[in-house]
Every structure is written in C-alpha cells, then in structure tokens.
C-alpha cells in the first residue's frame, strides 16, 4: 500500500465494469454522481484513499482532483490515511452508550492494546468509535466492513476478534 504512485494504480477489469455500470445509472454528463460509490470501491480495493488513488478516481470520472478531495475529506467513512485490514467501528451514541458502548470500547482497547483511532502493530485491526449506525435497539454494536455485529458482549467480541484475526477481510465492499 506504500509508495502508491499513479502509474500502478488501476482497477481490475471487473471493477472498471462496475464503475461503468454505476455511472450509467445517472444521465449523461452527470457522472459525478457516481463519485461517492466509486470512492467506496476504491477504498475497499486499495486500502485507503491516498492522493494518487483520488487522482485516479478523478480521471476515471472526468472530474477535477479537487472535486474528489473535497468529498473524500467530508464523509466520515473514508480513510485518507492507512488503516488496518479490519476496521472495528463501535457506535458510541446515546442508546448504545446506555447499553454499555463505553465499556465495550475500553475492553477492545485493552484486548488489542490500542486506543480509539489506532491500528494494531500487525496491521490487522483499527479501532474507531463512530456515531449512530441505526442499530439502537440491538445495542451495543459494532460494524466491521459491511457487517453489523449486534447485542455484543465481551465474549462475543472475543470470538469476533479471533475470527477476524484468522481471516482479516472485513474492509470488503460486496464480497462475503
């Protein structure tokens, strides 16, 4: 992931087809509307949105790089810095807090030896507290990749972390 430069940044054929499909959902000349989804795909494929990756997306969608940067820095799901292979995003808002989200975060911090926002040395896990994910009735919860893990307990977190350690593929978008 290091030393990304624009020459070797290229989506494989299947992802280029997907970009083509997404762009075609919008009227001609409105291909910029595909940007947010294409950035999700780029992040899942390249690990994070480096400047060269964003420049590549700009060229794909025939827009200016600045138009990509300003979007990539606005939305909280995008990473413009390297992160672990599995991002554990723990909801910390109101109803989750009532159900013990803070304790859960402390537990994960201790278990992984990292603080909120940090990545483990082996590059597998990043811990991030996030705002309401729409699972208030099933709190506490965390999201890893596209998956919602709900009604969490320390025991469930142990199992989850073990599973992801063996098979660290949770920053996927669309692949199970």
């Amino acid at each position: 992931m290091e030393n990304q430069n624009i020459e070797n940044i290229q989506f494989p054929k299947d992802l280029l087809d997907e970009v083509q499909r997404i762009t075609s959902l919008f009227p001609e000349g409105k291909q910029k509307s595909a940007l947010i989804r294409v950035l999700h795909i780029a992040q899942a494929h390249f690990g994070y949105l480096s400047a060269p990756v964003m420049d590549y997306v700009a060229r794909l969608l025939l827009i200016q790089p600045i138009e990509v940067y300003e979007v990539a820095t606005f939305y909280s799901m995008y990473d413009t810095q390297p992160v672990g292979k599995v991002k554990l995003e723990v909801c910390r808002t109101g109803p989750c807090m009532i159900e013990g989200a803070e304790k859960l975060v402390s537990y994960i911090e201790k278990k992984l030896g990292i603080k909120d926002g940090e990545t483990t040395e082996d590059g597998i896990f990043t811990l991030k507290t996030v705002e309401c994910l729409g699972a208030c009735g099933y709190a506490p919860m965390l999201q890893a990749g596209e998956k919602f893990h709900e009604h969490l307990t320390e025991e469930k977190v142990d199992v989850l972390i073990e599973q992801y350690r063996l098979n660290p593929v949770a920053n996927y978008m669309g692949q199970e």
Partner: protein
C-alpha cells in the same frame, strides 16, 4: 388491537423475495394505479389520506407533492431519503431489509403520481448491505416488468436505482442529500428555491422518507379515506416506532397512532416495561433532536390527560412541557441514567455532524460539547448552565438547515426539566462522577383555566 398497514406480512418467510411478496398481494397497488388511475388521482388519494412525512418533520405528503413544478420538457425526479441517521431511529433499515419490495412499490406509485421517470433511493453508506438487498429486489422488479420502459403496457417509464452516502448525518436534510447525490459534500442549500422548483441537477424534485413512501401502497390499495380512518385526528395512519434504551423489548413496532404512551412503554406487545424493574426517569420520544421529557410528563401531559402516540399529543404543551413525534426514535431512560452525560453525548454527536457552513452551528455545537463535558466530569461552574442556555438559544433559528435547531433543542429541554441535576453536578463534583442523581422532582404546572 392496533391495526397494521406496513408490517402485516413482515414475518412471512421469504417476504424479501419477489415471488413471496407478489403472492401476498404485492404490486397490486401499482397494477391498480397504472390500469385505473391518473397520476392526479393518486395525488388526490394521498391528500385525502392525511399522510404526513415520517422522517421527522411531519409535513403533509400530498401538499408537498402538489408543490412540484412542471415546466415543459424538463425531467422531474423523485428521491427516497434512506439516510436514516437520527440517533434512536432504525425503522427504515428494518423496512428495507425485511420488505424491500414494499419500498420499490411505493417508489413506482409516487414516481407515477409525480410524473418522474428517473428515481433514486439515497441510502446511508453504513447500510451498504441493505443497499445490496435493495439492488437485488430492484433487479427482480425489472425482470418482472415493474420497472423499465412502458411498465405493464401503461406507457409509464421508470428507471430506479440506489445510491449510497458515506457517513454524514447532515445528508438526511433534503438539500444536503441532493448535493450528495450530485457527488458533492453534503452542505445544505439556501431555500428558496425549494427542491420542488430546483432540486437534483436543478430540476424539480420531491424527496420523501422510506416509511412515507411505503405508506403510499396501502393508501392506493385501500383508498385515502380508509387510511385517514386509521389513527387519530390529524395523525392519520400507522407509525413505525424504533424503541431503544432501558426497556424489556427493544425493536421496531408498528403502532396505530393514538395508542397511549403508557401502553407503548408498559404493554406486553410493545416495549414490555422498564428493564430490571427500574423506574422510568425520562424519555426522548422522537429521535435525539426532540425535547427530552421527564418521567412525570411522559405518560401524562401537564394538564393531566393521557399522552398519546401522535403528532399532536406528543407536542401538547409546546416545548415547555411537550416534545415531538419526530422520526419515532423512542429512547427510554431508567432511574440510573445521567441526563448530563446523555446531553453531552448528543452534543458531541451534533458537533461531529455539523457540516460547518454556518458559524452558530459549527462553533456553537463544539462549545456546548465542551461545557457539557466539564459539567459531566465535575469541573463545571454554576454559570455554565446559563452559558449553555445562551449558546443553544443563539444557534436555534440562525442556521441554513434544521441541524442547528436539532442540536439546540435537546440541550434546552435537558436544562428546562433537569436543571437540578445539572446544579448537582456542580455542587457535588466528586459524587457526580461515581453515582447518578436519580429521579428529578416533579414540577407543578399552573393549570390554564378555560
């Protein structure tokens, strides 16, 4: 027994698939509308139904539809707001995940009514797995001729697709959503012009919430008058309530509007009472933005009448003693919860989610978070409570979009009803970090004589 209009078949096995949805009466409303109704007649039924926006504002849907401009030769767009992000709210996710075809059917009906041939569902990025469920269902609808060109020989064309956000509460505000759908930052637009005149790509646009759009299906099936006969007064129909917090049975419930709040909290078919036999301390009935109510104003109004689950009853007493139905994000707090901590938590949320365009919101939400943090951790001064009041008052009404109000109201209501708990945090700086205040004293309200 409270009637259901949306979730009747939610437990039918395979209801998320086209075949099962169709077999249980799905797409009958589209058949009916395309065969026997004009677009104007569909709008008329929605007007008659009294349906109001289910996303939070409660604006009459039929009236919103009637504002759409129809300039010759300019395409119009219909958008579904599935950017459900209001803390306490998770009903749209439930609807889309369980019965995706209900939303698609509602989208077809609404697009037909408004004369839109290209419609989009904008869904929050964190719900990416729901987006995939919707895309699968949309593909099924295309295969079976409910989407595309000349639907069922009616001459009506509709292209429908889903587009994700990427983590921004503000994109639930309709003009921010439109910006985001154009591939930009989610900064709300100045209004006017309203989206009905200049929305997506400057074309006339209508934006409705997921649940609102789904409600169009029973309205077309049964008629607007039948729908208006469900519920109470100007709160017609049913409402999905997302119940969370210290209750025995959190989850999504469809209620007929007009059941009592007491029944909803304590009834066995709903929340099933407060968890662990604790006492009710407070309730946020409509998502984090609406005023929090202390225990003595939850089930009764200040006048002593039963409070009902409806737009009007939850708002009775104004902000002095009432709240709002909002999005139906119903959060229940037991006697062990700390109101200062909860208010700080919500303020942190709004600070995090402010788009930064308007100074009162950008700066004010951060100040409120800071002041609430020091109060919660025992470093506050008694003047801080008035300072908070002052900040929230200066945010409210002074921003382009309602996020400013949404950030101000929870703070104002917490101070209004729980001031003694805030003062206790100042007076007992050590105690407040180790134990909770408990229930606040009931206030006596002067009865207004008729």
């Amino acid at each position: 027994m409270s009637r259901k209009l949306l979730l009747n078949n939610v437990h039918v096995e395979g209801i998320h698939t086209y075949d099962v949805y169709r077999k249980t009466g799905g797409y009958a409303a589209v058949e009916k509308a395309l065969k026997s109704m004009t677009p104007e007649e569909v709008v008329e039924e929605v007007k008659k139904s009294g349906l109001r926006g289910r996303g939070g504002a409660g604006f009459p849907t039929g009236m919103k539809w009637s504002f759409i401009a129809k300039p010759e030769g300019v395409p119009r767009h219909f958008l579904c707001n599935a950017d459900e992000s209001e803390p306490g709210t998770f009903k749209d996710r439930y609807l889309m995940e369980k019965i995706p075809h209900l939303l698609i059917e509602g989208m077809i009906l609404s697009s037909f009514a408004l004369g839109c041939e290209q419609s989009y569902i904008y869904i929050r990025g964190e719900y990416m797995y729901v987006l995939r469920i919707l895309e699968k269902a949309i593909a099924e609808a295309y295969q079976n001729g409910w989407l595309g060109k000349n639907i069922k020989g009616s001459g009506f064309n509709l292209e429908l697709s889903v587009s994700p956000g990427a983590g921004a509460y503000i994109c639930g505000e309709e003009t921010a959503m439109i910006e985001s759908l154009e591939g930009k930052r989610g900064n709300p637009r100045m209004k006017p012009p309203f989206p009905a005149i200049q929305g997506l790509w400057q074309r006339p646009t209508v934006v409705n919430n997921v649940e609102t759009i789904c409600a169009v299906v029973p309205i077309v099936n049964e008629g607007g008058e039948a729908y208006a006969g469900v519920g109470v007064g100007r709160s017609a129909g049913t409402k999905l309530i997302s119940a969370s917090g210290n209750i025995n049975k959190p989850g999504v419930y469809e209620i007929e509007m007009g059941i009592s709040v007491e029944e909803f909290i304590y009834g066995d078919q709903y929340c099933g009472g407060i968890k662990n036999g604790k006492k009710l301390k407070a309730c946020v009935p409509g998502g984090s933005s609406v005023p929090i109510l202390p225990h003595y104003l939850v089930c009764k109004t200040a006048e002593g009448t039963d409070r009902l689950m409806s737009y009007e009853s939850l708002a009775e007493g104004g902000f002095a003693t009432g709240s709002m139905l909002g999005s139906g994000g119903f959060i229940v707090y037991d006697e062990d919860q700390c109101i200062v901590r909860n208010t700080w938590n919500f303020s942190r949320f709004y600070h995090h989610e402010s788009c930064g365009q308007c100074s009162p919101c950008r700066e004010g939400t951060g100040w409120m978070e800071k002041v609430l943090h020091r109060l919660e951790y025992g470093h506050g001064k008694i003047e801080d409570i008035d300072l908070l009041w002052d900040i929230q008052r200066k945010i409210e009404g002074n921003t382009i979009c309602p996020l400013g109000d949404a950030a101000a109201w929870p703070v104002a209501a917490a101070i209004r009803h729980f001031r003694e708990e805030f003062e206790w945090h100042v007076k007992e700086p050590n105690a407040c970090t180790t134990r909770n205040y408990g229930l606040v004293t009931e206030k006596v309200f002067e009865k207004v004589n008729a």
